[in-house]
């Protein structure tokens, strides 16, 4: 359609044509959460490492806490333009130095979650490679292949595109549901025990750990607000999509993790997860549905992990790009690649991080599943918790400073409740940090890793204050992202 064919008055109509509706936003959001990666990878590892049976209850509780959090979060999206990320919110709610601190924490946390996935890809792909080609490569060879693919697609700016993503996602969800039904049809001796949902199975010493691990499974749901400006009706589309995504994700995870306890027996689930790791649900599926079903599931497990890697890679490179545009990071990070429009420097920086971690783990012979996927992934999960708690407090402060914009439930009660709940969860996770990481209680890592976040926060605030003193124009633009080019209040 050419411009000359349009009648006047068509500007809004023309732009509305390619705006997103609720289903598209839900798809984008859930795909970053990669359901099969969580159900096969996170669930079994959570049972195995924490030894806690209450994983399903943890998913339900987290879903509820995040829903309360989302109330204030999506409300703030109506009032903060360019609500690109958590740090835009904290910059507005808690001050720009807090915004920079949030950005550093987010970069650490997302990178940890992304890099953690390199630790699980081998256990997903190797059984298939052995079956099909009779080869059993080292885990790091598989990880490097995935790394190469992610890096290359990132540079070419191939977001796994909408349609491919939708097909993969629906296939993943279908597989999870079919596996669940099969598991429920073949209960173990303990039968349909509700034990996994009983508070007593979660209120145990490892509780904080389970929650920190499970929160990583929700990482990505916060991206719904990024679409604010591209939706048909931001006031309705974004909140509805967020709640639907949360309900689907937490429901799917809770039921699936419970099904595993039904099929294996709630008394044996920890033991079985320790013995078989992510292979557990495929072994169950093979027993209940035959090898073909198990193979289909295994293939989708691989594509699910790859999709999650690419999604997190792109999230991180955009984050770095936005910070480069603001000049909070050196301006080289704000560069794009002319032919592809990709945020090149951000993408390369993320790839370098991934490579360094893979090489360190390969050289030092650490276990990829426990020490990379679980430890580093949970470290990322803890960071996501920090981001959620910080953002929730920021929402509260923002609406306290600008009262009268929305009703009290959205601006005070829900954000206040969410802040308290998230801070409690954060405290529990910190108390159980040895279990969160899957290390010995006496391990120094137990203190070193949380200290890394503390350092990021201190360094972030310090950098924010330095900018205020030395480069006030950059300071004024913190949190604006690409709009930093024109300044905020024009």
């Amino acid at each position: 359609m050419s411009l000359t064919e349009q009648r006047t008055g068509a500007v809004t109509a023309a732009l509305a044509e390619d705006r997103l509706g609720v289903p598209s936003v839900v798809f984008f959001v859930i795909s970053a959460a990669a359901p099969l990666t969580v159900v096969a990878g996170v669930v079994s590892t959570a049972y195995a490492v924490t030894g806690v049976v209450g994983v399903p209850l943890a998913f339900v509780l987290l879903g509820a806490i995040l829903a309360v959090f989302a109330v204030g979060y999506v409300t703030m999206a109506r009032h903060v333009v360019n609500a690109g990320a958590f740090y835009a919110y904290t910059a507005r709610g808690l001050g720009r130095p807090a915004g920079v601190a949030t950005a550093w924490v987010a970069l650490l946390a997302y990178n940890a979650v992304q890099v953690g996935l390199y630790g699980v890809i081998a256990s997903a792909a190797t059984p298939l490679l052995t079956d099909w080609f009779g080869v059993t490569p080292d885990w790091w060879a598989v990880a490097l292949a995935a790394w190469l693919l992610t890096g290359a697609l990132g540079l070419m700016r191939v977001d796994v595109n909408g349609k491919v993503l939708a097909v993969l996602l629906l296939a993943e969800i279908a597989v999870v549901v079919v596996f669940d039904l099969a598991g429920l049809a073949h209960p173990a001796a303990s039968g349909y025990s509700p034990e996994a949902f009983a508070p007593s199975s979660l209120l145990v010493p490892g509780m904080g750990a389970v929650i920190a691990v499970c929160v990583a499974a929700f990482a990505g749901f916060e991206s719904s607000v990024v679409f604010s400006e591209e939706t048909k009706d931001p006031r309705r589309t974004v909140p509805i999509a967020t709640y639907i995504a949360l309900a689907v994700i937490s429901g799917l995870y809770a039921i699936s993790s419970w099904t595993v306890t039904v099929a294996v027996g709630s008394d044996k689930v920890v033991e079985a997860s320790r013995a078989q790791g992510p292979g557990l649900i495929f072994e169950l599926a093979g027993r209940h549905l035959g090898t073909t079903a198990a193979t289909v599931g295994s293939v989708l497990f691989v594509t699910s992990i790859l999709a999650a890697m690419i999604a997190f890679h792109n999230t991180i490179s955009r984050y770095i790009f936005a910070l480069g545009r603001e000049r909070v990071l050196p301006s080289i990070f704000g560069r794009t690649s002319p032919p592809t429009g990709a945020p090149v420097s951000g993408s390369v920086a993320q790839s370098v991080t991934g490579l360094v971690v893979i090489v360190i783990y390969a050289v030092s012979g650490l276990d990829p599943l426990v020490h990379l996927f679980f430890t580093v992934g949970s470290f990322g999960g803890f960071g996501v918790l920090l981001l959620l708690a910080g953002t929730s407090v920021a929402v509260l402060f923002f609406f306290t400073r600008e009262p009268g914009l929305e009703n009290a439930w959205r601006t005070r009660i829900a954000p206040g409740l969410a802040s308290v709940l998230l801070l409690i969860v954060l405290g529990l996770a910190l108390v159980n940090f040895d279990t969160v990481l899957g290390v010995e209680p006496g391990s120094p890592l137990r203190w070193i890793l949380p200290a890394v976040y503390l350092a990021a926060i201190v360094f972030g605030v310090a950098w924010g204050l330095t900018l205020r003193a030395t480069r006030p124009r950059v300071y004024a633009n913190i949190g604006l992202g690409a709009q930093a080019a024109i300044g905020g209040d024009k």
Partner: protein
Amino acid sequence: MHYDITGRTRLHAPLTGIGLAAALLGELMLADRITMRAAPGGTRLEPVQEPSSEESEGAGTSGRDPLARVVLAHIVAEPSHTVRTWLRFLARTARADVASRMTADGLLRPHRGLLGSRHLPVDTNQAAWPVGRLNIAVRRREPLGARDRVLLGLLNATGVARLVLWERNTTYLAGAVEGLAPRLQELLAQTEAAVGDAVISRR
């Protein structure tokens, strides 16, 4: 024509669209047809009232170029939109619109190949001239005219400057942009912001 970024295969299609959309607005600003007005919620575009002509809409008075006239008619009809919205709106069709204008002016000829249709320059020397002229000026540190300064600013804002300029002298570039009227400087900043948004967008 001067603002045609060599684009096509060298710059990502959505970014080319934004660059050309900004170029169309830049032409209207240089011709004193539109200006910028700061407003709550974002800078707006505003048609400049021409004292000589009483009849509104500006049809027939906005120069001989039909495309510029259409763009101006849109802005006259819906002055409530922000620059950001205009860039997004014009970017959708800018490439096709500019290509047909250049074809009509005999600068491009349609070419049907195996892999779909393309436009090829009628005279490659003429097509390469604007960027070549800029390169020579940058190298010699010569002062540029307003049109060329806008072109330079747009090449930079879209990121294509790194591909087509022989040397990138930031002091020279900053000087060239600072010499422009505030509304043109704002247009360049808005273009940079729109390009950044397009890069961050997940679609």
